[in-house]
Symmetry: C2
DNA sequence: AAGTGTGAAAGCATTCACAGCA
DNA sequence: TGCTGTGAATGCTTTCACACTT
């Protein structure tokens, strides 16, 4: 076993990918598998899977393979996914509403506990489990609740301002759907999802 | 200038990223910049930017820098984004509706021209510009229209079946929001967006 | 003087190949 | 025998550093 810190950045993304597939295998009742089995459905090299896992421990049995449920638990523990994570949502437009109504996230352990918008027509409405609040209360509410994670789903025009408020409020990680770069301190974790960019990737070379 | 085929996979993703920032700079009226300027806001190495561009040509002026609008046009041409792209959407749930109502995509040149669902309560409804059709007509309708690109926004349970129909219908690229792996021929381009996985990435090591 | 374009070097990540264990 | 775990080799990508152009 290597040092966990040596694990390439992409390894973490792949561990999440493996975990997703393991959950799928469990639903199908597949209790055991080899790195070759998994590599085949995921279309990758089996050595890559073994190496990725080896940064964190020895989870398999030589000559046999891996136990699906056991490895899923190990991965959840490595990835910090064996607990519930609370999020604050800023921007209750099309995407924000989709997230609030999406039962999949809660199923995976992610829960939106507060939502904010600036539009008076939306403020006060209850969507899913939360009631939308005025974004002018964002900073104090988040600071007081101690929420560590946020989702930005506002327009490009408001994104930086919202990001600044979240950082001031003490948020440590931000998932951002706004199609623009956000400037935040290096200590803040930022994961962007830009749907138009992904469509662009799809279209390249077609 | 190197051969375009030598460009690393990640270079394409970064070109899209540069283009997005260039559009932002244009809105702010910034007509010229150096690789160092751009690298600073994007928090990256200026040499990386120059090298990425060098796979596709020489777009700058030594001693001066790059012209924002001109480079944006070049990038759009390299990335095939100087034309409109039509998509078919399958699955008009929370995410599907958000995409149909999202004006940002159309602004970027991506247009959803057909939408399908299996739920009779949704079929026949008009959302945004399109009327939702019965998914049982998916294959014939897409084949006949010759649509090359699709977005899958259905549940895990239906995703593979929908993917198969799309492939049969002749689709060449698929953006998939379903949180599961999809098996498609190697000739089909597949870009997955799994929001729960991105949240997992955000949470790792926190 | 300023900033691009690019070989060469350095730094990473992936794959191979096989020792080691059940 | 079968499959894991892993050092070593291979293959990529990023960064450096400087010749070159305006």
């Amino acid at each position: 076993m290597r040092d966990v810190a040596d694990a390439p950045k992409e390894t973490i993304r792949r561990l999440l990918f493996y975990l997703r597939q393991l959950d799928c295998m469990l639903r199908e009742g597949k209790e055991r598998f080899s790195s070759e089995d998994l590599a085949e459905v995921l279309r990758m090299n089996p050595a890559q899977i073994r190496k990725d896992l080896s940064y964190f421990g020895e989870f398999g049995t030589r000559g046999v393979g891996y136990n699906t449920e056991q490895l899923a638990n190990e991965l959840r523990s490595i990835l910090n996914l064996n607990k519930r994570w609370e999020f604050v949502l800023v921007g209750v437009g099309n995407i924000g509403v989709a997230l609030l109504r999406n039962p999949e996230l809660r199923k995976q352990g992610f829960e939106i506990v507060m939502a904010f918008d600036k539009d008076p027509r939306v403020i006060g409405k209850t969507i899913g489990e939360v009631t939308v609040e005025d974004v002018s209360h964002l900073r104090e509410r988040v600071e007081q609740a101690g929420t560590r994670l946020a989702i930005i789903a506002v327009s490009v025009e408001s994104a930086q301002e919202v990001g600044d408020s979240l950082v001031e409020a003490g948020v440590e990680g931000i998932l951002c759907f706004a199609p623009c770069s956000l400037t935040v301190p290096k200590t803040i974790r930022l994961v962007p999802i830009d749907i138009a960019m992904e469509l662009g990737l799809l279209v390249y070379g077609l």
